[in-house]
Symmetry: C2
Subunit: 120 residues, 2 copies
DNA sequence: TATACACATGAACAATTGCTCATATGAAGG
DNA sequence: CCTTCATATGAGCAATTGTTCATGTGTATA
């Protein structure tokens, strides 16, 4: 079978038409779901998660994060660029140093929920 | 620079020792953070997100999900196996058909928070 | 037992991704 | 200017990942 769109086999889609209809109408738009998976993708890497937790308590400069996590400045900088592009962190320059911080409280909430799930 | 752990450069880690200490002690264990990123990784794929949203309203069989999302039965089955292994969904067999459902309300909460973030 | 159907799963391949390395940018001091 | 230091970034590579294809497993029915 190549694609199920054309011909359902099991018949349940016809038996439970009401359910399928309800699910379909309750489901967010394709675009929203893509944005959503892109958002979670950012949380789905241990380096980025650790960076975010670094910034959870306080703003920090790139070098400090790299030192704290035992990783190269370049690796951290690349990831911070990603996080900044997606508005999860904000940057503030002070002379040669750039301080990063969590952009808003949604990030905190999501991290909190995740922690709650894995530690229970 | 290979690793920052040995020699900090910017000096801020020494200037803001108190902050770094606070961040370090507030940070969950390495293991927890890895589990956490593994959890979010599952939400970080549009196919899996769409599957989860299918199950958000009701339990559904594999064939129906495949049909609804316009994807092959095999692709959906592989992803469902992943989600089941991580306890995000549960399975219930009824004859030849297997019905999948969201495992617990944490999944709903996380999905909800995510939607809230991307749609605001 | 033989067939049909729903689902599971291993192997393989293409696409994505995270890191390193080298180099560029931008700011402060000499 | 020229150098130094903190950070940014493009290219390339290795590892991971999502899908397809082929096949296996489990259940119901003839």
């Amino acid at each position: 079978m190549a694609h199920g769109k054309d011909a359902p086999q099991c018949g349940y889609i016809f038996v439970h038409t009401d359910i399928v209809d309800r699910v379909t109408s309750a489901m967010p738009s394709e675009e929203t779901l893509f944005d959503l998976s892109d958002l979670f993708k950012l949380f789905g890497d241990s380096t980025r998660i650790r960076i975010l937790y670094c910034l959870f308590a306080n703003e920090m400069c790139v070098c400090d994060i790299a030192t704290l996590l035992g990783m190269s400045q370049s690796a951290i900088s690349h990831q911070l660029a990603l996080l900044k592009r997606s508005k999860l962190v904000s940057a503030r320059r002070e002379g040669k140093t750039v301080f990063y911080a969590l952009a808003d409280d949604h990030v905190r909430t999501i991290l909190g929920q995740g922690i709650e799930h894995v530690t229970e």
